[in-house]
Amino acid sequence: MTSFVKPRIRRKNQPVNELGLTRADYEGAMSTLCAGCGHDSVTASMARAFFRLSIEPHRAVKVSGIGCSSKTTAYFLRESHGNNTVHGRMPSVATGAAAANSSLTYIGVSGDGDSLSIGLGQFVHAMRRNVNMLYVLENNGVYGLTKGQFSASADIGSLAKKGAPNEQPPIDPVSLALSVGATFVARGFSGDREQLVPLIEAGLKHKGFGLIDVISPCVSFNDHKGSTKSYAHTYKYYHKSVHADFVPPSKDIKVKYDEGEMMPVELHDGGVIRLRKLERGFDPRDRAAATMALAKAQQNKEILTGLIHIDESHPDMHELNRMEERPLNEIPYAELNPGAAKLAELQKNFR
């Protein structure tokens, strides 16, 4: 056999979701990434989250740019919409798609190269606009597809595979997101699925832009001793701040909260994110506190993970711009295209 495929097997007693679909129904083509790549694990977590949320695959849209991470949209949700865009330009395509049809679920998959170098401008403006999408940034600190040069997220002092240290300061996507007003900011680790899957679920259900920065080790070029984005380093300095459980609206959510331990955040669709504090004196609903906690962790060289900030009060792109809520393809043609006379009338205003 010259390559391999994962066989699809309908086995007895397979778990199914509310739609009667199995987990395998949320998978995609075989990954061509290196064996052990963190991205594959993130892919599996995304597939798992869509399965648990019982989202119909054909009601989801996957968008991505260029890079190892951006390839992964092929590896899950084989029956959904998707667009693999130009390098760093995924946010504009996602913005356009969301504008045209706000009823679908949008997930963007990108990496540290695609988002923090060539696509940095697009990335921050999508957050400013508060496009209703989940943006998963698979962060490994190197350009894997071009064999391991440092990316903009590499930490000072982190060693390349051949031993050269990185000397430029990193761009931290989480700090950046907080500074431009992102409304859902989280960090996960490909190796901790128990934390990551609920974060993805919550991010998908959050109305507005959700960012999850996922530390996702590159096994081929950045998994050695001296790297600060290796499996071993991440497991060692990994610090969980707040655990988020997503409770869908259909489930009974009348649970007694011990304020200070559990913090419920109600979402627009009635679902609830139940935050479980793992550390005292930190409330992710408070942007200033989140920024402080993040800075402190950076100082201690800890990798702060969990749901770092959430703000359900901020209007999303549609609301901000008073845009049409109905998908354009459901609007009668006459209404969508009122004709040349109406256009001429509109243009008069600008003369």
Partner: protein, 596 residues
């Protein structure tokens, strides 16, 4: 959980469900791979090492391997293991120069074997090449035991049987036909170094109901089959009733059709779920339009002027409990069914009228000899039992295994060694990785369904008594069926210190049988697995603590496809696919140095 000790050969052996279920532990996936490569003679010889009669068993084995086959748990139908065994036999060509040879000189030890059935032949097969002088005593004029007298030739052709028996006789085994042993004591006085009793369970059970002795048209199944086999009985009435619904009943009803019966009914006392016959034997009988009548309990025979005219049955009704067991029964009526002959096929018993009470061999209250389950020695030193003679009726493959074990004991006994000092099984692991995406076995899952055996057309098969019904597999069927085997003997070997906990194996596994979890009790772990599952008799593999987080890797052995994708995906080769060879030592290997 305590980390699984995979160095214990029994652990990986149990993963190979077919081999574990086979009494003789035939290495099934290994010989199926040989068939896939067209190495039929090698496949035959590998089979022969453990089960001695691949040609015979490839047709009539009771197939405990097939219900155990993992493929049956992944989908519905197991691999057609038995049919593939026949493939190896059918296409093996001449293997005579590769069989064990008659030794240049004997070791002077004389062994008497009573009954020329599969058990005695296996003992002779193991001991004769080592130099033992084996003499088989048989009361009939042909060797083979029930394989010849009770299994009809349309299932097991005479030539197939004779070839495999002759191969053993050619090792210098003496066969004395037409020589019934009538006295154990006089046999013991003849100076043999050991005696093996493999005389089967030759007594068919009787049904002593009113009218039983008023006619000569009521037959005992196994006696009747023997009489047909030796051509003493050549015809039967038009309407035949078979009482009982085991495999002997299936042979009786199908043989009746070939002797000219027009209407054959198999009468069962209980519903279908309680039938003793193998499913495939029932199917083959029904294909020949045998009617199987359930819930009829025999009451009496009806005769008129010494001629059998029918049989009276009580019709029964059963209530089952939630586990499917009968909780109550009642008689709902009575019917008379016309017939010309009745054949009783309701079981067999041991009978040893030739073993004297003071021969030193003790029996239990059911006249079954007291035999040690490991050594097969009776209560008299130097006298061994095997096959149906040992623990009552079982089947050929059990008789073979009994023969192997008794041969070990006889060898130890003749050397004056402790019978229980037997070599333990060993496990040898061989790597199978050939390169990127390449393993030395066909690891990709083939979704084909089980191939159906082709049969001789109904009208043709009744022309003669000995037309073999099953035609064997076609080349296309062989090529497909071999790929259905999951290669369960290619073991998933895990090396915990190498694991990076990247989850790649967990994500790639097509049956979700892997999980990395915090250690806990097995009951708790089963609930939190990636695919939570009750046990179904299959183990969970638990690794040592993983180096980065101290969690453990769990593998549910139940439905692992052995596809190797976990090992293919593993960046550090913590998972590897290794061929596990279970080395089982027969008599000839007992004198090797014990493994360290």
């Amino acid at each position: 959980m305590i980390p699984t000790d995979t160095s214990n050969p029994a652990y990986f052996h149990k993963v190979v469900d077919c081999q574990w279920a086979c009494p003789a532990h035939t290495p099934v996936p290994d010989y199926i791979r040989l068939i896939a490569q067209g190495r039929y003679a090698d496949a035959y010889l590998l089979n022969r090492k453990s089960n001695v009669f691949p040609g015979i068993l490839g047709r009539v084995c009771d197939r405990p391997c097939e219900p155990a086959c993992r493929r049956g748990r992944v989908e519905d139908d197991p691999v057609a293991i038995c049919r593939l065994k026949r493939v190896a036999s059918d296409h093996r060509g001449d293997v005579s120069d590769r069989l064990p040879k008659k030794p240049a000189k004997t070791n002077g030890k004389r062994i008497a074997l009573v009954g020329a059935g599969p058990a005695s032949f296996t003992v002779a097969n193991d001991l004769a090449p080592m130099g033992y002088e084996c003499t088989i005593f048989e009361k009939l004029d042909e060797p083979g035991g029930l394989m010849r007298s009770n299994i009809p030739a349309f299932r097991l052709p005479e030539q197939v049987l004779s070839e495999e028996l002759d191969a053993i006789l050619d090792m210098g085994v003496q066969l004395k036909l037409g020589t019934p042993i009538t006295s154990m004591k006089s046999l013991l006085n003849k100076g043999y170094d050991a005696v093996f009793v493999g005389s089967g369970a030759p007594k068919g059970k009787n049904l002593d109901l009113p009218g039983r002795y008023d006619t000569d048209r009521i037959h005992i199944g196994i006696d009747w089959l023997e009489s047909v086999a030796f051509e003493h009985t050549k015809d039967i009435g038009e309407k035949v009733l078979i009482i009982g619904v085991g495999n002997t009943a299936m042979d009786c009803c199908r043989t009746s059709l070939r002797l000219g019966a027009k209407s054959v009914k198999v009468m069962a006392r209980k519903p279908r779920a309680f039938f003793k016959a193998s499913d495939w034997e029932l199917e083959d009988a029904e294909e020949e339009n045998v009617e199987i009548v359930v819930n009829h309990s025999p009451k009496s025979f009806v005769t008129k002027d010494g001629k059998l005219t029918g049989m009276v049955f009580e019709t029964m009704e059963y209530e089952l409990d939630e586990k499917g067991r009968i909780s109550s029964q009642k008689v709902t009526g009575e019917v008379t069914i016309d017939c010309d002959d009745v054949i009783l096929a309701i079981g067999q018993e041991n009978a040893f009228p030739w073993i004297e009470d003071d021969a030193g061999i003790r029996f239990d209250e059911w006249h079954v000899p007291l035999v040690d389950e490991t050594t097969f020695q009776s209560t008299r030193a130097g006298v061994f039992f095997g096959g149906d003679a040992a623990f009552g009726p079982k089947n050929i493959i059990w008789a073979v295994e009994h023969g192997h074990q008794a041969a070990i004991s006889i060898h130890k006994y003749c050397q004056g060694k402790m019978l229980t000092g037997r070599l333990p099984d060993e496990l040898e692991l061989h790597p199978t990785k050939m390169g990127m995406f390449e393993w030395s076995y066909s690891n990709s899952f083939d979704a084909s369904s089980r191939r159906e055996m082709r049969h001789v057309e109904l009208v043709k098969r009744f022309e003669k008594l000995d037309i073999e019904v099953e035609l064997g597999f076609s080349p296309e069927q062989i090529a497909t069926e071999v790929e259905r085997c999951l290669n369960c003997d290619i073991q998933t070997v895990f090396n915990a210190p190498l694991c990076e906990e990247c989850d790649a194996c967990i994500d790639i596994c097509p049956v979700e049988c892997l999980s990395i979890v915090e250690n806990s009790s097995e009951d708790e772990l089963r609930k939190v697995l990636n695919a939570p599952a009750a046990s179904e008799g299959q183990d969970l593999f638990a690794s040592d603590e993983l180096p980065l987080t101290g969690r453990i890797m769990i593998k549910d052995e139940n439905i692992c496809l052995h596809c190797g994708l976990c090992a293919e995906r593993c960046p550090t080769a913590a998972w590897d696919m290794q061929e596990g060879e279970i080395r089982i030592h027969h008599a000839a290997e007992q004198d090797m140095e014990s493994p360290a």
